[in-house]
């Protein structure tokens, strides 16, 4: 226990801050072989079933994340894309410690954080913040904006004076384009775009270095989406932030992301620098996903039609999770789970076809 505490004393983290400057290439966040399952079977008694005259215990799980490895580098915006149910939000929540992983490790700035208690996690929580999808649900309706923004500062800086907290709130409201005089208003008095600005202000209030944004603009209108994206990009430049950006909107990814991880059924099928991914998608699923974006251009592009639908994550298919819908699947794809391999352009792809040079 003492060892764990000393690991997080301020001097130690100051030391890591020094080493950070020396070694900029070390990833800020490392996700190692992460698994997350959710039980569908209820508690122990509900799992007991009679089968052939015997009492057996049966458990069913949703396999939300099935062994992913992702590094998030300092200062980048890593976008995770995929369709609903692919586990991208679960990744965001697990990384933030809102869910505990079933297996695997999460390292933040060189330290393992997935097994820490809430108290031990507190210093990390100041450095990593989250922005949620729905600004109508993520602001407490009974708190004024001032209270909402003061709360995280007081939690993480209990020694700060009232004036200092108030100044910090004013600064952060200013920086997201919300008039600091509106502090006494409640969340419902603001429009969706303004609420999302306040949610961003709340994340920025404690000067974090890493922000996880789970679909932060999908609840907003087009003209407001641009405002919020601009705000997030400005904040990134000014504060040297690192983003983990979860979205299903590929046009946003192309604009915003440094690198992109494409997820399918709880696995990463391709991870690549944004330019490479959009110029030359390698995984058949990425290709289908990109061809499905409705573009403004005149020519009606041929969509790559996938057969069938995403299988249920309760009973995962054997082999490559995508084989049932993949036009290029062969016997090996049906049997063997593909691993991520390096291809040109800094991309990594999990596909037997790419590995064998068929695709």
């Amino acid at each position: 226990m003492t060892a764990a505490v000393s690991q997080h004393d301020p001097k130690a983290s100051a030391a890591t801050a020094d080493s950070r400057e020396q070694d900029n290439a070390a990833p800020l966040m490392e996700i190692r072989n992460l698994y997350k399952r959710f039980s569908l079977s209820g508690d122990f008694l509900e799992q007991l079933k009679f089968k052939g005259g015997k009492l057996v215990r049966e458990q069913e799980h949703v396999h939300a994340i099935n062994g992913i490895d992702i590094d998030i580098r300092r200062g980048e915006a890593l976008c995770v894309v995929g369709e609903s149910g692919c586990g991208k939000s679960t990744v965001a929540r697990t990384v933030m410690g809102l869910l505990s992983p079933s297996k695997g490790e999460i390292h933040y700035d060189g330290q393992r954080i997935d097994h820490l208690s809430a108290k031990e996690l507190l210093p990390f929580r100041r450095r990593m913040q989250m922005i949620f999808q729905n600004p109508y649900a993520s602001l407490n309706p009974r708190m004024t904006i001032q209270q909402t923004l003061e709360e995280p500062i007081r939690l993480h800086h209990p020694d700060w004076s009232k004036e200092r907290v108030r100044d910090q709130v004013r600064d952060v409201m200013d920086s997201v384009g919300i008039d600091p005089d509106w502090g006494s208003r409640f969340g419902h008095e603001f429009s969706g775009g303004q609420r999302q600005r306040i949610a961003i202000a709340r994340a920025l209030a404690v000067d974090p270095e890493f922000i996880v944004a789970d679909e932060p603009i999908s609840a907003l209108d087009v003209s407001i989406q641009a405002q919020v994206l601009n705000l997030m990009m400005e904040a990134q430049q000014q504060r040297n932030l690192t983003y983990l950006f979860i979205t299903h909107d590929l046009a946003v990814v192309e604009h915003f992301g440094t690198r992109v991880a494409v997820m399918y059924l709880g696995m990463v099928c391709e991870i690549a620098p944004t330019g490479t991914l959009f110029a030359k998608p390698r995984h058949p699923y990425t290709q289908a996903l990109l061809s499905a974006i409705p573009r403004l251009e005149d020519d009606r592009p041929q969509h790559i039609r996938l057969q069938g639908e995403v299988p249920t994550p309760v009973n995962l298919p054997p082999g490559c999770v995508f084989h049932g819908r993949c036009p290029h699947a062969n016997e090996r794809c049906r049997q063997e789970v593909p691993a991520l391999i390096d291809v040109e352009g800094g991309a990594r792809v999990a596909c037997h076809g790419v590995e064998e040079g068929r695709l």
Binding site: E83, S223, I224, N230, M233, L250, S291, R295, D298
Partner: protein, 340 residues
Amino acid sequence: MALLEVNNLDVRFALRGGDVRALRDVCFSLDRGERLGIVGESGAGKSVAAFSLLNLIAKPGYIAGGSITFDGEELSGMKDRGLRRIRGNRISMIFQDPMMTLNPVLSIGEQMVECLKAHRRISTREARAISLHKLNQVQIPSPETRLDQYPHELSGGMRQRVIIAIALLLDPDIIVADEPTTALDVTIQAEIMDLLLELCEKHNVGLVLITHDLGVVSQVTQRMLVMYAGRVIEQGPTREIINDPQHPYTQGLINALPQMATPGSRLNQIPGSMPSLSNLPSGCAFHPRCGFVNDANGEPRKACLDKVPGFVDSGNCRVACHMVAELVNQQQRDSREEIL
């Protein structure tokens, strides 16, 4: 004469604080087999416009004025009995959320047969045969088994296919689709839109497509309307509006799309947000957010602040904007002088 003509449609919601005008002076028309997109942000009135076509506006909303003429018949003010002949039969609707649209306690087959029998005097056996044929058309695998399944047994994409099959059941003249793919994933959205487009073209069915997605409108429709704060502000051929938008709001909307900017650069945002319908700014409702509100002298145009702009013809498009009107007048004057 067009198949569907909407003129000066005025829809209001009677609220405690007085009437809120959800639609004002909305005019559009649809020819047989034509595909029209209605675009706008939430609160612009696009869904109200679609619902009012079949008088599906729930109280306290009501149609306060204007006319909706379908195939020579006036629909606004028509009694429910008369509307029932048209609803689902000659004009059918596809709603946004495929999870909510189907009745969870009836099998797919029952819902389809019910719809057919409401409009035609046919036997259940015949109705099932037609249903099966339509399910085949929307490319549902093993349609015979699907007929006896319940909505919860189908995925979102499959449900939306069933809904399209129901919309096509009575070979309608027009399908009104309100954000039909918003609740679906991109790959499924692409499949559903392809399917809808293919079927509309094949059967010469008109489509009114309501969406906030300019990409979808651009790929599916021939003409489009852009709505803002309850009014149509620009309408014309889809390609021309997408390639060369005239109204400052349409320009802003298109330029705000991430695909219009170089990756990593600042997006062109429209400042502010859409005003609430109960508290509209004077004059042009867009003027507080408009970058072109000032005239050549750098002064705000008086007309923009005081007067609601009427439509001017600019090429094949019609635009409600004082700035565009000035430009068009200028051009006309110039060309007149050239001729003289």
